[in-house]
């Protein structure tokens, strides 16, 4: 048997109350792509953090090139040729792309950074692997797709031979995913090995050589991807059959719930982000906004929610003008919001689950009376929601920050849906969820639809959009450029408009699709 490049043996890692890795073993051969699959909280990230020197395991050993190694810090992992792109990016937001990439091993003389050389080096590797970015852009101005490129470039710049990608596709459009896969294949051709964590089974099949499946902290199965299919993987993962495409009744549109009329919104940099958008959502309807991130969806949602002041136009909820309402009034009027960034807007990581569960409802009965909490009701509600939404947590009293990404998302969903809203705005509601959880969330959204709620879905996932939406609005550069009815369009059709195609142009504009830069 060929010697493996990296081998993890019997890794065990314990967090207070959680056995995150239970004697996990994993091998990675040279030039191999291994997919690591598993439910939310299965311990994938933890295992990779151990390999990268961010966590130290209670027991187990790590071999690189057949040698026993003791990886105590990321520096040692880097020295061993291991690079990692984290589930939550490790980028310093106020710094530039170039600074983030070279940080730690800057080209310099006497401690003075040679910025031209740094820029050259960044451009060189970005060209070599086809990962184009503007080296002088600040991270916080970049859409996530580009931020991820920066993360990959960081690893490559450090001469990684083994690349760990923790849920790299969760935030990408199909187009971006295709590009990423091309990059990954070219990396493998260059001799790199890749560990690829994802929840998307078709991706696993299309990119990985081998699949390792984890559940509850342990490896429960391993297979060559050629020998399985998505249903088989799903079964291995959640231990039962999974329905990928939920069935839904035909739309029966009732009264108009949400009406957006010629809305114009500016972003932080005062550039027009939403440029005269109009649409309606009616009772029992799912309207999806499809678009590459950074095309104004965030600003659109924030201005509907009352988090951002629109320049002009109107927003009406059941005919009532809420254009200038603040978030509290919007919520009170019956709008729920699953934000796209759960760490920033979705939850308070330093709050425990009971507290996170009442955010936004914390002033309302039965949770609070006269400004005083009814702890009993809160605890009961939390316990019920944890149960209903299958949040994997040792208790309701742990801090939000200790949950795995997927479980955090479930908390947000449980809270927002639990409010029983008139209108649900769900932005990337299944980002980072495992297939089982996605199935559950989708069916919950359709339950809401059946109850006659209006749903505005913002998603990059065309599969999600196709399976849930009654109407699809494609947003590009702040405008709705195309509207499709359910089942009317193929993924390719939608992708075409998402990336700047128009009815008058026949081909997809290649440069536009390379990632989105707004106003630059």
């Amino acid at each position: 048997m060929q010697q493996s490049l990296v081998e993890l043996r019997e890794i065990t890692k314990v967090f207070p109350g959680v056995l995150a890795n239970d004697r996990v073993s994993l091998t990675l051969g040279a030039g191999e792509i291994v997919a690591l699959l598993g439910e939310n909280g299965a311990g994938k990230t933890t295992l990779m953090n151990v390999l990268y020197g961010l966590l130290s395991a209670e027991s187990g050993e790590i071999l690189v090139d057949g040698e026993h190694v003791d990886i105590k810090s990321p520096q040692q992992a880097i020295d061993l040729g291991i690079g990692m792109v984290h589930q939550h990016f490790m980028l310093v937001e106020p710094l530039t792309v170039m600074e983030n990439i070279v940080m730690g091993i800057e080209p310099s003389k006497f401690g003075v950074i040679n910025y031209p050389a740094a820029r050259r080096a960044v451009l060189e590797i970005s060209q070599k692997y086809g990962l184009e970015v503007d080296p002088d852009a600040k991270i916080h101005d970049l859409p996530v797709g580009l931020q991820q490129r920066v993360e990959i470039l960081k690893a490559l710049y450090r001469g990684a031979r083994t690349l760990i990608l923790d849920e790299p596709t969760a935030v990408l459009t199909p187009q971006e995913v295709r590009e990423l896969f091309a990059v990954v294949r070219s990396l493998v051709n260059e001799g790199l090995s890749v560990v690829f964590i994802t929840h998307k089974l078709d991706e696993v099949l299309s990119i990985a050589d081998r699949v390792v499946v984890m559940r509850d902290g342990a490896v429960v199965g391993e297979t060559r991807s050629a020998d399985t299919d998505t249903a088989g993987l799903a079964r291995m993962m959640v231990g039962r059959d999974v329905v990928f495409r939920v069935e839904k009744d035909p739309v029966s549109c009732g009264d108009t719930v949400l009406e957006v009329d010629e809305l114009r919104v500016r972003d932080e940099r005062k550039l027009t982000a939403v440029d005269g958008v109009s649409f309606t959502v009616c009772e029992g309807e799912v309207v999806a906004i499809a678009g590459v991130s950074g095309n104004g969806q965030t600003e659109l949602v924030e201005s509907i929610m009352g988090l951002r002041r629109p320049e002009s136009g109107h927003v009406r909820l059941r005919g009532k003008d809420i254009t200038h309402a603040r978030a509290r009034q919007t919520i009170a009027a019956g709008v729920s919001h699953v934000p796209e960034d759960r760490h920033r807007r979705g939850m308070v990581l330093e709050f425990d689950l009971t507290e996170n569960m009442i955010l936004g409802d914390h002033r309302r009965r039965p949770f609070a009376k006269w400004g005083v909490f009814d702890q009993k009701v809160i605890n009961e509600t939390t316990a019920k929601r944890i149960e209903d939404y299958d949040v994997r947590t040792p208790s309701a009293r742990v801090l939000g920050s200790t949950l795995s990404g997927g479980n955090q998302q479930k908390v947000v969903l449980a809270r927002e849906l639990g409010r029983d809203p008139e209108l649900l705005i769900a932005a990337q509601p299944t980002r980072g969820l495992d297939v089982g959880a996605i199935e559950f969330v989708h069916s919950r959204i359709l339950d809401e639809r059946r109850e006659g709620k209006g749903i505005l879905l913002v998603s990059l996932e065309l599969e999600e959009v196709q399976s849930l939406a009654d109407r699809i609005l494609v947003m590009y550069k702040g405008r709705i450029v195309k509207e499709f009815a359910a089942g009317e369009a193929s993924d390719e059709d939608i992708g075409f408009y998402m990336t700047g195609g128009s009815d008058s142009s026949a081909t997809v504009d290649e440069t536009e699709s390379k990632g989105v830069t707004r106003g630059r």
Partner: protein, 365 residues
């Protein structure tokens, strides 16, 4: 099953022992290090620390003295802690304290003649309001233009101090050469504890101590069980998520800093009403600043503030005895105080030592 239960009980006991033990061990380490310093400096460490203990807790009177000194620190500690919980660093509690004191000194004279309970109630409320008012402009500036509260509250401290300095030498000055306000009439002062509770030994400790404890519990309750406290903490941790949940970040900021200011103002009120009976330029020994350390030592937990303030109060009241009986220079006492604060704050060190000994115990068992 039973074994599991027992183990859990054992774990709980270990955690409990750790929570009580850590501060205790920290203090012990601090005493050990300080003893070395005292000894090197040529004094008797045993005499020094027994004097410190005696001065702090040696008699009912001394305990009262410790309580007296803990009182303003509880208020300022609560003030700073409340601010921190809302993500605000109220470094200017000292200024709010001065303004609270000013309000009490003024009202105490104006209200003379009213029945004492009414008088006292009005003064407490008004002093808190004035403290809040002194925090209001920094709060507003923070909420509206983002001016950093560390700068603004500190600047307002200096402004408040000079304002008081002028008032006590000018418009509000009592007869005579001394820059101070008129002595408050009896009905405008806080009774001493021994005047209210017969069992309490004769000391200077006053009702401010009880008010502070009650407020600590109230603040703890507010933070834990009310929407007011919930919103403050939410904004303190994550303003974006708060905003998304319909919490007004600016309104919450203003409210939190004003509550903080009110608590600090009460420190001034109770010092004037309970200790000095009047206002003068130097009536606070930096209580607003020490309150920062008190708050953080208590990890911003209002109940913890009570204990942290008592620790500081004890160090303060024990130092006089230490100076007199063990001849330790007053300056050395600062060093000892600093050491104790250090070690109590750096619980990691004590934890490490506890861990070591526990490991040793289990291994030998």
């Amino acid at each position: 099953m039973a074994g599991k239960e027992a183990k859990r009980m054992g774990d709980r006991l270990a955690v409990a022992a750790e929570n009580v033990g850590i501060p205790f061990i920290s203090v012990l380490i601090a005493i050990a290090i300080a003893s070395v310093i005292i000894w090197i400096a040529g004094f008797d460490p045993v005499a020094a620390f027994s004097a410190l203990w005696k001065g702090a807790f040696g008699s009912g009177r001394q305990i009262g003295e410790t309580m007296l000194r803990a009182t303003p620190l509880m208020f300022t500690g609560l003030a700073v802690a409340y601010g921190f919980r809302a993500g605000l660093f109220n470094i200017g509690a000292e200024g709010q304290l001065f303004m609270g004191g000013l309000a009490a000194a003024y009202l105490g004279i104006v209200l003379a003649g009213l029945p004492a309970p009414l008088n006292i109630a009005i003064m407490l409320v008004a002093g808190a309001a004035v403290g809040a008012a002194w925090a209001f402009i920094p709060a507003l500036l923070k909420a509206k233009v983002g001016a950093h509260e560390v700068i603004t509250t500190m600047m307002f401290t200096y402004i408040g101090r000079y304002l008081v300095s002028w008032l006590v030498t000018g418009p509000l000055k009592a007869e005579g050469q001394i820059p101070q306000t008129e002595k408050l009439p009896l009905e405008s002062t806080l009774p001493r504890l021994h005047e209210v509770f017969a069992f309490f030994p004769d000391s200077r400790a006053h009702m401010g101590f009880i008010i502070a404890i009650v407020l600590a519990v109230v603040v703890w309750w507010i933070l834990k069980y009310t929407t007011l406290g919930f919103e403050a903490r939410a904004v303190g941790f994550n303003p974006w998520a708060s905003e998304n949940s319909g919490i007004s970040v600016s309104a919450t900021t203003v409210k939190a800093l004003c509550i903080s200011g009110a608590l600090a103002g009460l420190a001034g009120v109770t010092e004037v009403m309970g200790v000095h009976g009047r206002l003068f330029d130097q009536f606070s020994s930096g209580f607003g600043f020490t309150g920062i350390a008190v708050a953080l030592l208590a990890k911003n937990n209002p109940i913890g503030v009570i204990f942290a303030a008592i620790l500081f109060g004890a160090l303060s009241s024990g130092s006089g005895t230490m100076q007199l009986e063990a001849d330790v220079p007053s300056k050395l006492i600062f060093i000892i105080q600093a050491l104790i604060i250090f070690l109590v704050a750096a619980e990691q060190l004590a934890k490490w030592i506890v861990g070591r000994t526990r490991k040793g115990v289990t291994e030998s068992a």
